[in-house]
């Protein structure tokens, strides 16, 4: 399961952005999980919680939003969603498409309470 290394990367990024002194005031870590990223939200949550336990980040919770998989079609010009993560336009069946969203894991925001 690569969720453990992903969670470690998330925690490392949080540390980097917040700085050691303010880590204890982190309340939320917001991430976006692409529906077709292959990342399992529950596993990531589990790994994140395990890593921050007994650390200066232990008060933080991870909040994840699933982002639908959307492709843009160069043939008909429309954007369409499919849950399978297929490189196909759901409108016209063309394969001349590019991914708009839903394939990545993104660290969105960190929320801190004022000290």
């Amino acid at each position: 399961m690569h969720e453990m290394s992903l969670a470690q990367d998330i925690v490392a990024s949080v540390r980097e952005h917040v700085g050691t002194e303010r880590l204890r005031s982190v309340t939320k870590v917001r991430i976006e999980i692409g529906a077709a990223s292959g990342v399992v939200s529950e596993s990531l949550q589990f790994a994140f919680d395990a890593i921050i336990q007994n650390s200066s980040l232990s008060a933080a919770t991870m909040e994840s939003t699933i982002i639908p998989f959307v492709v843009h079609c160069y043939h008909c010009g429309k954007d369409s969603q499919n849950d399978g993560g297929y490189m196909l336009c759901s409108e016209c069946d063309s394969s001349d498409v590019a991914i708009v969203s839903g394939a990545e894991l993104i660290l969105k925001q960190i929320e801190l309470k004022e000290m």
Binding site: H2, D9, S13, H17, G38, Y86, L105, L107, Q109, E111
Partner: protein, 215 residues
């Protein structure tokens, strides 16, 4: 309350190293491919057949990724090509830094084709760019024709699908046509070859195509 907005890919750091590796490949005029599959689909066997095919005609280098042991690197060492074994110690995928750090082993060897055998896993390696030119996913006839639909990320991120163990078709319940159809549903641009490592069917076609991609 205060909010820090980051809006960055979690794998940004890996992608950065992958970019550096990609630059290095270009500088060395080396085509790098990243072979992925479940354990046992036949990655190492295909690699062996490829080394036999290319023999002295193409200078090949190999990076072997494994969770434990250097058994695969030992298999490859018989072919007298430079091979680096990366043991991930439990990690289910290779990351770009493993590849980048291995490159010095190929210094001065004028390698044209770098073949990276990833850790056997049909899920995790799909997220990690190693700097390769493209990913090659191997699916064997014993795994079932529904796998592209069950593991779409891997098939979407690959450019080539090698359907391996076609010599076993008479014995297994696998419909190659529907395997191909399912793969193309996920990724219509996939280039597909059917292979057998036991009777080398399809190996020449696959290697011939690959040779044309060399830079």
């Amino acid at each position: 309350m205060s909010i820090i907005t980051i809006e960055r890919k979690v794998l940004e750091k890996n992608d950065e190293v992958a970019r550096k590796a990609r630059e290095e490949f270009a500088k060395r005029r080396m085509l790098a491919i990243n072979i992925v599959s479940s354990p046992g689909s036949g990655k190492t066997s295909i690699l062996e057949r490829m080394l036999e095919y290319f023999n002295d005609a193409v200078a090949v280098g190999v990076i072997e990724g494994d969770v434990q042991t250097d058994l695969d690197a030992q298999r490859i060492a018989k072919y007298d090509v430079p091979v680096v074994q990366v043991v991930t110690n439990g990690m289910c995928h290779l990351e770009a830094k493993f590849v980048y750090d291995s490159l010095s082993a190929f210094d001065g060897k004028d390698i044209r084709l770098l073949i990276i055998e990833n850790v056997g896993n049909l899920v995790c390696p799909s997220n990690y760019d190693l700097g390769e030119e493209f990913k090659v996913v191997v699916l064997s006839t014993t795994e079932g024709d529904d796998k592209p639909l069950k593991y779409p990320a891997m098939f979407r991120n690959a450019s080539v699908l090698l359907i391996n163990k076609i010599d076993l078709l008479p014995y297994v319940n696998c419909n190659v046509d529907s395997m191909i159809k399912n793969a193309l549903t996920v990724n219509p641009k996939l280039k597909i070859f059917q292979l057998s490592c036991t009777n080398v069917q399809g190996i020449a076609e696959w290697c011939g195509w690959l040779e044309k991609q060399l830079i």
